[in-house]
């Protein structure tokens, strides 16, 4: 008799499910808004303003059909992008969650763009009369976040999946006697990431101030929150397993000791391996990365084909202790 290895890991099924419903939900949002705008055709000028220059005067316009087609095409393009991310790299629940949230956000963005752009121009004769109030940008950027957060929350987490094999015998260990308890604590913080983050916030702030588009100050404000959450992470290895959490408290994740297949030291290049800095999903097997600088990092291989890479100094100590804790977790499960 031969046994066939499972050709599709369980996460692929979960990734297909979350990608399908989130893409459909995103598409439904944009198509619903498109149908609404289509119904407003009688109230809209032949050409609607689609872009406003500094000072709030319209400087580009297109037909209602063109507007609807552009918004739908943009949404479909974004949905395809996030579907690829979810399907190819969604081995961890956090990645599936982010991809599903991003898909619904894309649909919400298309819907908000359509409804705000067309809604402002109902009853106008020419697009030149269209005024863009300051709140429009805020609504377009922030409103889609609500359904996106809801969608992300709907994606189920990873079920418990304890490892079935012991940690490889040649993996590094920390020598501890039975009566010894240990914890390793470290911090992941950035070099280039920090500079880039501050640079982006300063640049977008200057842009908004120079152009006197005060509403666009929202962009650096959102970026600042994002970078603050990504700027430093605390890392802990103890009897419960491996924990990495932003110093702000979110985002973060925990790998239970009994789900650790093996921990090791690796070297990463944030741009080359993860396409950027911060909380990322990697090109290699959808490993989740908390990568704030290049160089030494701890790699935690987890059951279910998952992986987590965190850039910390002294990664060797962290990896060795985690392997020891993984041994202990297995010993606790099968006494004797």
């Amino acid at each position: 008799m031969t046994t066939h290895p499972d050709p599709t890991p369980a996460w692929r099924r979960r990734a297909r499910r979350s990608t399908l419903w989130s893409s459909l939900a995103g598409l439904a949002l944009t198509l619903g808004a498109a149908a609404t705008v289509w119904g407003w055709r009688g109230d809209l000028p032949d050409e609607v303003a689609t872009h406003w220059g500094p000072g709030g005067t319209p400087d580009a316009s297109m037909t209602v059909t063109g507007l609807v087609a552009t918004a739908v095409a943009t949404t479909v393009g974004l949905l395809a992008l996030f579907a690829v991310v979810g399907l190819a790299w969604g081995s961890s629940a956090s990645t599936r969650r982010t991809a599903a949230g991003a898909a619904v956000w894309s649909g919400g963005l298309g819907a908000a763009l359509l409804l705000v752009t067309a809604g402002l121009q109902r009853g106008l004769d020419t697009p030149q009369a269209a005024e863009l109030p300051g709140w429009a940008l805020a609504v377009v950027l922030l409103a889609p976040l609500l359904p996106a957060v809801g969608a992300a929350a709907l994606v189920p987490g990873d079920p418990a999946l304890p490892a079935e094999r012991p940690v490889a015998a040649d993996a590094p260990r920390t020598t501890l006697t039975d009566s010894e308890r240990a914890v390793w604590m470290g911090t992941a913080r950035g070099g280039a990431a920090l500079v880039l983050g501050i640079g982006a916030v300063v640049a977008t702030t200057l842009l908004a101030v120079v152009a006197q588009l005060w509403a666009t100050l929202l962009v650096p404000a959102l970026l600042a929150v994002l970078f603050a959450a990504m700027f430093a992470f605390r890392v802990r290895v103890d009897a419960t397993g491996f924990t990495v959490r932003s110093v702000l408290g979110w985002p973060g994740t925990h790998v239970p000791a009994d789900e650790v297949v093996e921990a090791s030291v690796t070297r990463v290049s944030p741009l080359g391996d993860f396409g950027g800095w911060g909380w990322r999903v990697g090109f290699d097997k959808g490993r989740v990365g908390v990568v704030l600088r290049s160089g030494e990092a701890v790699l935690v291989e987890r059951t279910g084909g998952r992986g987590l890479v965190v850039t910390v100094d002294d990664a060797a100590s962290a990896a060795a202790l985690l392997n020891t804790m993984a041994d202990r977790a297995r010993a606790d499960r099968t006494p004797g």
Binding site: S179, E180, A182, W184, M185, G186, A239, T240
Partner: protein, 118 residues
């Protein structure tokens, strides 16, 4: 950094933490300005009472190794960086001599403890 405690040791748990902080500073694993872990977090991870960790931090403060501040926790002081090269050299000589005399590790430790009590 790595913190270990041995629940089977005769040495009090808080004293084990104090010793490790001193060692970490001596080795350069902790530098002035570095922060010790939050007492609650260290206690949870090592399955200790938080008062055990706080007692260790208080002793480290009394010894001048850390500043304790309500807002920032336990921060390694500038005065903490003591040069231990001479002590380490003397220890190596001591251990080598003990091995030469075929003393057991227990007997060697007892000798050291007796000397410390003088």
């Amino acid at each position: 950094m790595l913190w270990t405690i041995d629940a089977g040791s005769d040495e009090p748990l808080y004293a084990q933490l104090v010793a490790q902080a001193h060692l970490a500073v001596a080795r350069g694993d902790l530098s002035p300005g570095d922060r010790l872990p939050a007492a609650r977090e260290l206690a949870t991870s090592l399955d200790l009472n938080v008062h055990t960790v706080l007692r260790a931090y208080q002793q480290l403060r009394d010894e001048g190794l850390v500043d304790l501040r309500r807002s920032r926790g336990a921060v390694i002081t500038g005065a903490a960086a003591t040069d231990l090269t001479a002590v380490e050299e003397a220890l190596r000589t001591f251990v080598a001599a003990a091995r030469e005399a075929r003393l057991s590790p227990e007997a060697t430790t007892t000798l050291l403890q007796e000397e410390l009590k003088r």
